[in-house]
Amino acid sequence: MKKRYYIVMLRILAPVLAIVLSALISSAVILAIGKSPLQVFYTIFKFSLSRLDSIAIILYNATPLIFSGLAVSIGFRMGLFNIGVEGQYLIGAFFAALAGFAIKGLPVFVHLPLVILCGALGGMLWSFIPIYLKVKRGVHEVISTIMLNYISYSLIHYLIADVFLDRSQKLVEGLGGILTRTPKLPPSALMPKLHVFLGLFGIQLPRHVYLNWFFPLGLLMAYLIYYLLMHTPFGFEIRSVGQNPEAARTAGIKPERVYMAGFLLSGAVAGLVGLSDLLSYFGYMDLDFPRNYGFDGIAVALIGQNNPLGIVLSAILFGFLKRGAEGIQTQLNVPMDTIVILQAVMIMSIVVITKVMNDYIKRLERKESVICSSQNSSLPA
């Protein structure tokens, strides 16, 4: 019993160690360009945590990462690697935008859920291609999702710039042209901010903060996925296929069916990644729509150990780092890409540390079983 606590402690310790190790390695990078790592980390903390609105911005930054971390983790739980979250959320965001600007005159409580649903549907459709190719044709999902990411970039570009370009815009002063973007979404399709709700508790947020209801929705989604994985038959199937597909097959579970349903679920969650930005910040989709949330989600899922609560925490950590990165670039002139390096090193250190720890735990268990069996064999004598 005592050892189980010990193992749980090691599991929690692993991400902490990984974060410390990556901070050390990033320090070397910062030193290499002649800046002081201490000053950089101090600025990150001071810039991010000194004001209330800054904390709200961190949570806003974390919102898409919660969804993308969850989407990636559903794949990981089945033993599949969904690198395609990147493309899936772009397509999802476009579907949502389309449902937003194409339909008019609906009340908000019908329109907004419809828009969100369309986002999930878009992500799901884009995830269908790789999982179909995997189940039916044996194409590895990693390469196919990467190819589909590139295809989605071009497709979105075409849809925004050619098909659904908003030609009714006024000319931009000095630019002499119009912005390459879709028509604006009507207010009935937009997600309200959390300001009014937080105001009830006496928390006043300034207008330049875009924290919205997608954040609590992300928390809810994390709980739902936790419940699905841990307390439903389908969640059990997902986990058993992830542990050992052949053993699962022997037990009467069809891995192909689980792959298909689980990957579509992952795609549907991925379809929601971009909606916080689309429905509260932009209100339209343009060529500068944020990229890379899908790749960030891989780091978030790994640091969160594919555990929904862990994913929420690591998404907030990355939201915090993103906020701090703006601080070090504007105040210290250190490139904000330091954070990207930090992220890559974090992925590597978390997998290495987890691996070493698991080997250590395995050795502990083996040693114990050896002792037990030697005791057993000595019993009859």
């Binding site: 044996g138 196919s144 490139p335």
Partner: protein, 303 residues
């Protein structure tokens, strides 16, 4: 004349895919999947431009290969020594290369996404064949193209006809048996991964120095992944990788010429290499055979 131009252009587009695909053959034959090749190409393109900017193109090529080797070393330590998931490590390598190059570019060139113009290697005219029809194919050829083409039979010879190649293949097929025979499994896997890193670095440098004349962020455009597909299409053989790379190069060269026509929106033209990759994998994947222990980490003393 048009046909010769098209072929010459196909060859130029195929070379970066070919170099990386040859590297991929080495690493996968040793049983290590290297999805970080894209990142190693990115590192190669940036470091190649950096080296050429300060000390000329030869130094640039060298620096690019060293950068590729360095990234490959990280991948090898992760996957061979620590036996972590090879795909996860590769993805981290790609993110590291993307962030690292932006970081260095901003710190050195004061621009995150491009370098100043840099010089490439002197171009070569192949003598004797310089007659009418063949002219675009043999005049003004980059030495790296010739090197890449020479590397195809060389790699094929190394993998299929030398002791080193035999050991490399045995490690990828059955590491336990190889270990029993006294082959240093870990050393062979390191060798495979490092060769792939050096070749991917060279391929990145080709893009920056020979093809574009500068480093531009995102200039690899997924060629590292396409190279993996080319290797699978080529059935894990250097000569097969050559034909597959030429096919991908041809599709890209053709797409430039279709753009000039203007009949199809250029965003769809840009998709062609990726759609082709998907199509090729869909059609071919069940017929080709990967090394038996490809992607499986080797652990000593496992029951």
């Amino acid at each position: 004349m048009f046909l010769a131009e098209l072929l010459a252009s196909s060859l130029r587009m195929a070379v970066p895919i070919l170099l990386t695909a040859l590297g991929a053959v080495f690493t996968e034959r040793a049983g290590v999947v290297n999805i970080g090749l894209e990142g190693m190409m990115i590192a190669g393109s940036f470091m190649g431009a950096l080296g050429s900017y300060y000390y000329g193109p030869y130094f640039g090529l060298l620096l690019a290969m060293i950068a590729g080797l360095f990234m490959a070393l990280i991948h090898a330590v992760n996957t061979v020594t620590f036996r972590v998931d090879q795909i996860v490590s590769g993805v981290a390598i790609n993110i590291l290369a993307y962030g690292g190059c932006r970081f260095l570019s901003l710190a050195i060139f004061k621009m995150a996404t491009t370098s100043p113009r840099v010089s490439g290697l002197p171009k070569i005219d192949i003598p004797g064949l310089n007659i009418g029809f063949l002219k675009p194919l043999v005049s003004g050829v980059s030495p790296v193209i010739i090197l890449a083409l020479l590397l195809v039979p060389v790699s094929s010879f190394i993998i299929n006809r030398t002791v080193f190649g035999l050991r490399l293949r045995s490690v990828g097929e059955n590491p336990l048996a190889a270990d029993t025979l006294g082959i240093d499994v870990f050393k062979m896997k390191y060798a495979g991964v490092l060769i792939s890193g050096a070749l991917a670095g060279l391929s990145g440098a080709y893009l920056a120095l020979e093809h574009t004349g500068m480093y531009v962020e995102g200039m690899t455009q997924g060629k590292g992944f396409i190279a993996l597909a080319a290797m699978i299409f080529g059935n894990w053989e250097p000569v097969g990788a050559l034909w597959a790379s030429l096919l991908f190069g041809f599709s890209e060269a053709l797409s430039f010429r279709v753009v000039e026509g203007g009949a199809i929106p250029y965003q769809f033209i840009k998709m062609i290499p990726y759609v082709l990759t998907l199509a090729v994998l869909t059609g071919v994947v069940k017929k080709s055979t990967a090394p038996a222990a490809d992607g499986v980490p080797y652990e000593r003393g496992l029951k």
